[in-house]
């Protein structure tokens, strides 16, 4: 599905992302871990096109998408969430999802149609809201949601786009402990159907271990290891990088 080849992004001399090579198989769940500042979010930005790499390529289904702007990549099936929740705060929850559905299905450039009248969009939006368990909050302004709910809404926005590859950037960050299991269920349900692939950055190790088929470890911009959870966890280099050396 998704592959990166020699993906590098430098600011001046410093390589924030350093020759990263990732292959994501259809239906695979790949967890990305690494200490703060290891370049995980930058990697996501390079894959989704918010940043242009200094070197290297990103391919989706074998097609080189390195030169495409973010919105073209999204159209090809690349969806993502952000580390800091990013929803449209002054729109209602339902309008948020409808906007995403509409963006995916086309027909956003219709100045004279009444948006509220499009039943198909409305139905698809409600389905997405149902799946993340936010249906009852449809009329609330997205800006007023609690943090965990915002996270769910973000996933609903993502689902509305029916992506083939989903990038989740720390979906658990800032979510209270009691909400974590529910959110894990929602995320697990994402991969269940359609052979959707997921790339997820997450600091909750238990969540990663529970969900991921493989784990990629980043450190100083480079990929230290990318293997099954068991192998990665047993790798001494990884432990050292992730936990810091004994001092």
């Amino acid at each position: 599905m998704l592959a990166t080849r020699g993906l590098t992004w430098r600011i001046g001399e410093v390589a924030i992302v350093d020759s990263v090579e990732i292959d994501l198989a259809p239906g695979e769940f790949l967890g990305v871990i690494g200490p703060n500042g290891a370049g995980k979010t930058s990697l996501f930005n390079l894959i989704t096109g918010l940043r242009r790499p200094t070197e290297g390529q990103v391919t989706l289904d074998g097609r080189d998408i390195s030169a495409l702007p973010p919105h073209r990549r999204a159209r090809l099936g690349l969806g993502r969430t952000f580390q800091a929740s990013s929803v449209f705060g002054s729109l209602t929850v339902r309008e948020n999802v409808r906007l995403a559905v509409q963006a995916h299905r086309g027909g956003s450039m219709k100045l004279w149609r009444r948006a509220a009248a499009d039943r198909e969009v409305a139905a698809a939006a409600d389905t997405a809201l149902d799946r993340v368990g936010l249906a009852h909050r449809g009329t609330a302004l997205a800006g007023t949601l609690a943090h965990g709910e915002k996270r769910k809404l973000e996933i609903a926005l993502l689902l509305a786009g029916e992506p083939t590859v989903m990038l989740l950037d720390e979906p658990m960050a800032g979510v209270s402990a009691e909400d974590v299991p529910e959110l894990v269920q929602v995320i697990r349900s994402l991969t269940g159907d359609n052979g959707r692939s997921v790339l997820m950055v997450e600091h909750h190790m238990d969540v990663i271990l529970e969900l991921a088929d493989r784990i990629a470890v980043m450190h100083h911009g480079a990929l230290l290891a990318c293997d099954t959870p068991e192998t990665v966890m047993a790798n001494p280099t990884v432990q050292e990088a992730y936990l810091g050396e004994e001092l």
Binding site: H147, A173, M205, D206, L209, E210, L243, G244, E246
Partner: protein, 253 residues
Amino acid sequence: MSQPVLTVDDLSVRIAGLHILQGVSFTVAPTGVTVLLGRNGVGKTTTLRAVVGLTPRNGEVDGTVRMGEQSLLDRPTHRLVRGGLGYVPEDRCVFAGLTVAENLRLAERRGSTPAYDRVFALFPELDRRSRQRAGSLSGGQQQMLAIGRVLLNDNRLLLVDEPTKGLAPKVVTEVAEVLERVAESVPVLLVEQNLAVVRRLARDAVVLAAGKVAWAGDAQELLSETALTRSLLGVGSAEAHDATPAAARKDGH
């Protein structure tokens, strides 16, 4: 136990409607390093920033924070800092366009003699590179400058936010050594993700989870109890002592 240098009581912070801290209470002992732990996004940086008065405009702060007898909230940042609250922010924030000397000079204060000898004793590198632009320093050197800037004045308490973030392992060790020496003379409230650094420096630990204090006490005790560490920090800490993933998975479920 002696009087704490900092008392945080029922601190709540909302930013843009997000209830990030929900009644956080803890104290910082008058000596040694107190480390603030917790998962990413749990509000450690927000706590430090609220203490030093840097909550963004769309944020609301409630509760009380006292340094000694003095109440800190609602006082402008620059007064708190002059009153002896040193702050080393996340990402170092040195002034890249200014020289090292100018970065240090900025921290000088009227009415007190800047302790250049103290700073240069800790960081001889800064003296050698004083005419160099701070933006051209390495990450580690920038971190030294950020700490040095604060040490130019006498402080009653230092707040240090993730000083080892994004640094090479060798430099992490250097930073830890420096902080260890600094903490001999002034108490430090430290936010740190690197548990090896925590183990080396911390005397007390405060663990935040879900916007509240989940655990507070002796740091070494926390670190020695694997299950406790794992349940509180979730993070890679689990593997710090017990790196078998099978165990981690079984334990989780």
